[in-house]
Amino acid sequence: MIHVFRIVRQATMLGFAEMGRVYTWRTWTFGWLVRLLCQVSFYALLGSYLGDPGLTRYVLVGNVVVLACLESTIVVISLAGERAQGTLPLLAVAPAGHLPVYLGRGVQWMTTGLISSMVAWTVLPPLLGVPLPWPRAAYAIPVIVLILLSSYGYGCALAGVALRLRGVEWLVLNFAYGIVMTFGGVNVPLSFWPAPLRAVVEFLPLVHGLQAVRGILDGAPAGHVLGLVGLEALVGAGWYGIAWLSMDRLVAVGRRTGTLDYAG
């Protein structure tokens, strides 16, 4: 266990060092964070234009929570970057084994995802005139953390595609995040979509977690909320399993064919 924590710690340090090449704390706060808050406000303002405060709150909650998914899935870019720079084999020969190291390559995005979704969770609802019911809103925070984790697994699984095909990482990231945002119950309830599509959407991260968050805010029974939380955890575990198999096979094939250090 200590071993795993050490890898996570090192991965986080590496991730933040990498982020430091692009952002200072000022540019992150006044650039990226403001952009995310504007993204949430954009949809919430559309909600207020289209409907009543109920719709505004529905859209606002969905878009705040989806920030956790957005940031977690950026791991696709971090992992694809290793391939482009030719550093994938170095990670593969790490004494800890390639899987924990690969899976730890985007831990920093979960940290920033937590910060940005928490800032949006506390700041935007009163600003946009639809305050959340506190302290109930605080009970939703652990569920948002779970969504961060399950979305990270989803991002790692899809990074397998970006690691195998050259130059598609931004397409993969935007597709991964886009279908969750479009069909995952963020702006409209799942019941809006046809039944076959709903059946597929059940396997996406965020979907059940977001329903749990909405349930907590609406005062739903604890059993119902816990059931949804369990489903979110199950979906997340499934995506980690896919990521694990995908990366294991990538390294196995790469070792056999000597292509692991190809830059995509």
Binding site: G31, L45, L171, F183
Partner: protein
């Protein structure tokens, strides 16, 4: 070689580069999903009057993303790929080369208008009928021209900035809000509206929506304003590109990636 030939050749170069870079087609992946999201919200709220907004907005977003993301990377990518030095040495102004290239990028973004129309028609059975097709076509054309001007400006600003990635990652949604591309500007606080009038997207969004509904009574003013804002951005972009070249020559950093 005439100036127009230079622009055309630069356009062709960008088309060739974009064909080899799948990421340049990102907006064509995003637009259908955005249309679906916005249309779903509109229909769920039983607001058929806002369908036009949901169909037009992804096209405007497409143009903005093209201007910001790809056009902004034109000069830095040339520097990384080692193309910048021969371009500076060529006996034609770099400004014209950049103008031709950003035009190609902006045209890809403009395809998002067609995509969103198709998604609405095929996915939701909502065929958007334009009541003032002449004004609508003129508005799309003026918006594309303004986007080319803005893309030139973005290219200059981003190339000269030390925080390129930050700018590219941050200047999207704040401008979608300021531009009122999915809601009328009256939704915004009063103090924000004067800033909106400085963003061509706000004029374009209103003119496009009004032309769809057949209520574009003040279209000459709106068209003139879109073109004026685009021209101002183009002038700023050309000046910045000129400055970029002079600075690189002066400091001896032309060959730096």
């Amino acid at each position: 070689m005439t100036y127009l030939t230079v622009v055309w050749r630069a356009f062709q170069l960008q088309a060739l580069l974009s064909r080899r870079s799948p990421a340049h087609l990102l907006i064509l992946l995003i637009a259908p999903m955005q249309t679906t999201s916005l249309l779903a919200m509109t229909l769920q709220a039983h607001r058929p009057d806002a369908v036009a907004t949901a169909v037009i907005a992804p096209g405007l977003i497409g143009l903005w993303v093209s201007s910001l993301d790809y056009a902004g990377r034109v000069v830095p990518e040339d520097q990384w790929a080692g193309r910048f030095t021969p371009m500076i040495a060529a006996p034609v102004p770099l400004t014209l080369v950049v103008a031709g290239r950003v035009t190609a990028v902006v045209l890809v973004g403009a395809m998002a208008f067609g995509e969103s129309w198709l998604v609405a028609a095929l996915g939701f059975g909502r065929v958007l009928t334009v009541h003032n097709p002449g004004v609508f076509a003129a508005a799309v054309l003026a918006t594309c021209l303004a986007s080319v001007g803005t893309a030139m400006l973005m290219s200059g600003v981003i190339s000269l900035s030390r925080a390129r990635d930050v700018l590219q990652n941050s200047l999207s949604y704040p401008f979608y809000i300021l531009g009122g591309i999915v809601f009328p500007l009256t939704v915004l606080p009063a103090w924000m509206r004067p800033f909106s009038h400085l963003v061509f997207l706000s004029w374009s969004a209103r003119l496009l929506r009004d032309s769809v509904h057949g209520t574009a009574h003040d279209w000459p003013l709106a068209l003139a304003t879109i073109l004026a804002l685009g021209t101002a951005a183009l002038a700023g972009g050309m000046w910045l590109t000129h400055r970029l070249v002079n600075l690189a020559r002066h400091k001896g950093t032309v060959g730096y990636a």
